[in-house]
Amino acid sequence: MNSWRFFVPLAIFAAFLGVAAWQLTQPKDEFVHSAMVGKPIPAFAMRPATSDRPGLKLADLKDGKPKLLNIWASWCVPCAAEAPQLAALKAQGAPIVGVAIRDRPEDVAAFLARYGNPFDRIGADDLSELQLAIGSSGVPETFVVDGQGVIRYQHIGDIRKSHVPILLEKLAEAGE
C-alpha cells in the first residue's frame, strides 16, 4: 500500500532544493550599501588629523567641485594596499579628501610619510561619528561626493586597479 501521500514530504523537499540551487547560482551582493547614497551629508566639522593638512567640514565639500571622500585609518592594512591607487587617482586629477577613523596624529603622519599623501584635507573622526552618519560600515571606503555635498556613489573595500576608471567615471558624472 504505497500511498502517494507518503511522497508529499519528498515533493516539498524537492521544491526547496530547486529554489535553493537556483539561489546559489545567483551572484550575491555581500556588502552593506549605505542608505545615504543620493542624500546630502549632514553637517559636521573635524579637527585636522595631521599637522600638515587642514581638517574637514561640510562647507569644504560644498565648494561646487565633486570629490572623492576616502575613509581610512593608519591601523588598517587594506588602506595601505590601496595607497598606490589613490595616488593614481590623484595623478589623474581627482580631488581627494580623507577621514581618519579613530587614529593618532603621529600614526597618521607616519602612515602618510610611508605610503604617500594624496589628500587635500584630512579630518579626524575619533568616534566614527561621520563614518556612521554617512553609512560606512568599515575601512577603507570611498565615497563620490558632488559639489553640493550629496553622496553620489559608494565604493566598499580597498580600491583595486580595476576600480580606478570606474571611480573617475563616477566623479565625472557627479560633476555634470
Binding site: 500500500m1 504505497n2 500511498s3 507518503f6 511522497f7 514530504p9 519528498l10 523537499f13 524537492a14 526547496f16 532544493l17 529554489v19 535553493a20 540551487a21 537556483w22 539561489q23 546559489l24 545567483q26 550575491k28 555581500e30 585609518a73 591601523w75 588598517c76 579613530r102 568616534l127 566614527s128 561619528e129 556612521l132 568599515g138 575601512v139
Partner: protein, 648 residues
C-alpha cells in the same frame, strides 16, 4: 607533524565510515554475512580516530601554529588561551570537524552500548550513521580541510571575529552542535528501523535518550544564544527572528514534537509513521539550518563562513540524505502499520494535537525564513520580521498551550473531559485573575496580555499532575515533564512581561547628569578610555539607584578591536529580583554630552530562567529513562538467571 597526524586520522576515520556503511548495509539487505559483524567495531574505532583528529586541531590552536592556514586565519598569538581553544571551532572548518567528531563519538557509543534493538536494525542504523558521516568527511577532506598548511608560515594570525570573543559564545556553538548531531543519531535510528521494517516501541525507547539529549543541548544552546544576543549586541532585545536564530529554533520545534511522539510509540505502540516522519524532519531542519547559515543565500546579521561553493556542497549532502530518507519513507511508510488505536480525548489524542501544533509552528517559521528566498525568485526583495512571526506563531501557540495544560492530566487510550474539569477550571481562574489584574493595572497589547494570563494558568496547570500523587514515588521522567512544562510557563511570563512592561529611554547626558527610568535614577559619573588585551574602549561609569537606594556602578563600553578591526558594544546589566536595568553607552552627542540608552525590563530574566528549567526537565527525564532502563535490564538478567537455575 601534528597537522599531518590529524589529517591522517581523519582519512582513516573516513575509510572506517565507508566500511561501516558497507557492513551495516549488508545487514539491512537481510544477507547473513560475517562482514556485518564489523559494523560495531568500525563505529567504535572511527569514533576514537575522529576524536584524536579533533584533539590535534585543538593542540594546533593552543600552540598558535601559524603554518596552518586555519590557525593563521582565525587565531592570534595575543589572544587569551580560552579563546585560542575556542578558536578551533569558531570557524567553518573547525566547526565541521567538531560536528563529525561528535557524530562519530555518538556512533561509537551506540556501537558500544546499544543492545535493545534487533542486531540487524542496529547494524542498519550504524550503516546510516556511517553514510551521513561519510558525507561530512568528504566535505572536510575535499572542500574544507582544517589541517591545510600555508606555503609560507604567517608572521601573525588574523584574529577571531571580536563578536565571538565572548566566553558565552565560545561555548554556544558546541552546545548547539551537540543538539544537531544528536538529531543525526535519531535520524540514523529512523532510517535503520525503516530499512529493516522494525518501527517498534523498542526502537522508540532506544532512540528516545538520543532525542532527549539532543533536545536538552538545543534548549540550552538556544537559551544561551538568546541571552548572548541580548547583552552583546546592545539593542535590548532577546529574539529577532533572524535566519540564524530560526535555524536553531526549527530543529528544536521538530525535536520537541519527536520527543512527544516517540513517547507515545514507546508507551502505547501508536503514531509509528508520525514518529518516523518527525525523525527525518528534525534532522532535516538541522541540515537546512546549517545550509542557510553557511551558504549565504539568506542575509543575516550573524551568518558566518558564507561561501556559495560550500553551500553547493551542503546542498548536495542535503539532497542525498534528506531526499534519500524521504524517498525511503515514501516507499516504506505504507508498510509501517499505524499501530494501536485511541480516542481523541486521551493522552495520545492530546499529544497528537500538540504534535500538529508544533509542526504548524515549525511550518510558520520555515516559511517565514524561506519567504525572502521565494520572493527573490520572482525579483522582489523583502524581509519578514516580527509582524509576521509573532501573530502567525501565536495562532498555533495558544491552542498548543491549552492542550499542554490539559494533556498530562488525561489517561492513555480513552478518557472523559469531565474527569479533569475541576483542576482545569482552577488553572483557568488563575489565568483570568491575572488578565483582570493586568488590565486594571496597565493596558499592554493583546498578545503580551494573553501571554501573561496563559503563562500564569499554565504554571498552575503544569503542577497539577503532582496532585494526589505520592511525590517521593513519582517517576523521575514525570518530574521532568512537570519541570519542563513549568519552565515553558516561566519563559512565557518573562517574554510577555518584557514586551508589556519594558521602558526605554534615550538621553544625552553631561558628566554628572541623571536620567530616570522606571524606579531607577541613573547618573553618568565619568567617561574614560580603557584598554584590554586586544582592544581599547570608551567606558562610561554610571551610578544607578533603585527607588533612591544605594547606587550600584554600571560600566558599559564601546570597544574597538584591532585584529581584525571591529567595534562592539558591551552593555552593562544590573539584575534585580524583579527585572534588569540595561545600559548602553552611545556616541558623544556634542562636545560634552554622551548618548546613553537605558531599558528597564521587568522580569525579563524569567525568559532564560524558564529556558534553563525546560532543559533541566529534560535532564531529569533523561536520568529517569536511563535509570528505568538499567532497572529493566537488571530484572531481565535476574529473571534469566532464575530461569536457568530452575531448569537446572
Amino acid at each position: 607533524m601534528i597537522a599531518e597526524l590529524g589529517l591522517a586520522a581523519l582519512w582513516l576515520a573516513a575509510a572506517l565510515a565507508a566500511l561501516q556503511l558497507v557492513a551495516g548495509g549488508l545487514a539491512a539487505r537481510q544477507e547473513d554475512s560475517e562482514l556485518a559483524l564489523l559494523a560495531r567495531p568500525a563505529a567504535v574505532v572511527q569514533g576514537a580516530l575522529c576524536l584524536f583528529s579533533f584533539a590535534m586541531l585543538v593542540w594546533l590552536f593552543a600552540r598558535t601554529d601559524l603554518s596552518v592556514k586555519l590557525v593563521a586565519m582565525n587565531s592570534h598569538s595575543m589572544k587569551p588561551m580560552v579563546f585560542k581553544l575556542a578558536g578551533s571551532w569558531g570557524n567553518h572548518e573547525g566547526s565541521m570537524l567538531l560536528w563529525v567528531t561528535v557524530m562519530s563519538a555518538a556512533g561509537a557509543l551506540i556501537g558500544f552500548l546499544e543492545r535493545r534493538l534487533p542486531e540487524r536494525t542496529m547494524q542498519a542504523t550504524l550503516a546510516a550513521q556511517g553514510f551521513v558521516a561519510l558525507g561530512f568527511y568528504a566535505f572536510l577532506l575535499f572542500s574544507s580541510n582544517p589541517f591545510e598548511r600555508l606555503p609560507v608560515p604567517a608572521l601573525e594570525g588574523n584574529g577571531l571575529n571580536p563578536l565571538l570573543q565572548d566566553i558565552g559564545l565560545a561555548f554556544h556553538p558546541p552546545t548547539l552542535y551537540l543538539g544537531y548531531v544528536g538529531l543525526s543519531v535519531a535520524f540514523s535510528f529512523v532510517v535503520g528501523a525503516l530499512l529493516t521494517r522494525s518501527v517498534t516501541p523498542d526502537f522508540a525507547r532506544a532512540m528516545r535518550p538520543w532525542v532527549l539529549g539532543a533536545w536538552i543541548f538545543l534548549t540550552i544552546g538556544i537559551t544561551a544564544g538568546s541571552y548572548w544576543a541580548y547583552y552583546e549586541l546592545g539593542w535590548g532585545g532577546w529574539w529577532f527572528w533572524d535566519p540564524v536564530e530560526n535555524a536553531s529554533l526549527m530543529p528544536w520545534l521538530a525535536a520537541t514534537a519527536l520527543l512527544h511522539s516517540a513517547s507515545v510509540l514507546a508507551a502505547r505502540d501508536a503514531l509509528r509513521t508520525w514518529t518516523v516522519m518527525l525523525g527525518v524532519v528534525a534532522f532535516s531542519m538541522s541540515m537546512i539550518g546549517t545550509f542557510l547559515v553557511r551558504s549565504g543565500i539568506l542575509t543575516s546579521v550573524h551568518a558566518f563562513a558564507v561561501d556559495p561553493e560550500r553551500g553547493a556542497f551542503i546542498l548536495a549532502l542535503l539532497m542525498i540524505y534528506i531526499g534519500g530518507a524521504l524517498a525511503v519513507f515514501g516507499f516504506r511508510a505504507g508498510t509501517v502499520a499505524e499501530g494501536e488505536r485511541f480516542a481523541l480525548v486521551s493522552r495520545e489524542g492530546a499529544l497528537v494535537i500538540n504534535n500538529v501544533m508544533l509542526s504548524a509552528i515549525l511550518g510558520v517559521v520555515l516559511l517565514g525564513t524561506l519567504y525572502p528566498l521565494l520572493t527573490e525568485a520572482v525579483g522582489v526583495r523583502v524581509s519578514v520580521g516580527p509582524p509576521y512571526f509573532d501573530p502567525a506563531g501565536a495562532i498555533f501557540t495558544l491552542p498548543m498551550l491549552l492542550v499542554m495544560a490539559a494533556g498530562p492530566l488525561l489517561r492513555w487510550r480513552r478518557d472523559r473531559l469531565e474527569r479533569v474539569k475541576a483542576p482545569l477550571i482552577a488553572a483557568g481562574l488563575v489565568a483570568l485573575a491575572v488578565l483582570v489584574g493586568v488590565l486594571a493595572f496597565a493596558g499592554p497589547g493583546v498578545l503580551p496580555l494573553l501571554g501573561l494570563a496563559l503563562g500564569a494558568g499554565l504554571a498552575v496547570a503544569s503542577l497539577l499532575p503532582l496532585r494526589g500523587r505520592k511525590l517521593t514515588r513519582l517517576p523521575l521522567a514525570t518530574w521532568g515533564m512537570v519541570v519542563a512544562h513549568f519552565g515553558i510557563a516561566v519563559a512565557l511570563i518573562g517574554m510577555a512581561s518584557d514586551s508589556a512592561f519594558s521602558e526605554e529611554r534615550l538621553a544625552a547626558l553631561k558628566i554628572g547628569d541623571s536620567a530616570e527610568i522606571g524606579s531607577w535614577r541613573v547618573t553618568l559619573a565619568a567617561v574614560s578610555p580603557v584598554a584590554g588585551p586586544n582592544w581599547n574602549a570608551i567606558e562610561g561609569v554610571m551610578l544607578a539607584s533603585y527607588s533612591g537606594g544605594i547606587p550600584v556602578r554600571l560600566a558599559p563600553q564601546a570597544r574597538s578591536f584591532w585584529t581584525p578591526p571591529q567595534e562592539t558594544t558591551e552593555s552593562a546589566l544590573e539584575t534585580r529580583w524583579n527585572g534588569q536595568l540595561y545600559a548602553v553607552l552611545g556616541k558623544a552627542a556634542d562636545g560634552e554630552r554622551w548618548q546613553v540608552r537605558l531599558w528597564w525590563k521587568p522580569f525579563v530574566t524569567l525568559i532564560w530562567f524558564g529556558g534553563l528549567l525546560i532543559a533541566f526537565g529534560g535532564v531529569l527525564a533523561l536520568l529517569g529513562r536511563l535509570a528505568q532502563d538499567l532497572r529493566r535490564r537488571t530484572i531481565a538478567r535476574k529473571g534469566a538467571a532464575r530461569r536457568a537455575e530452575l531448569s537446572a
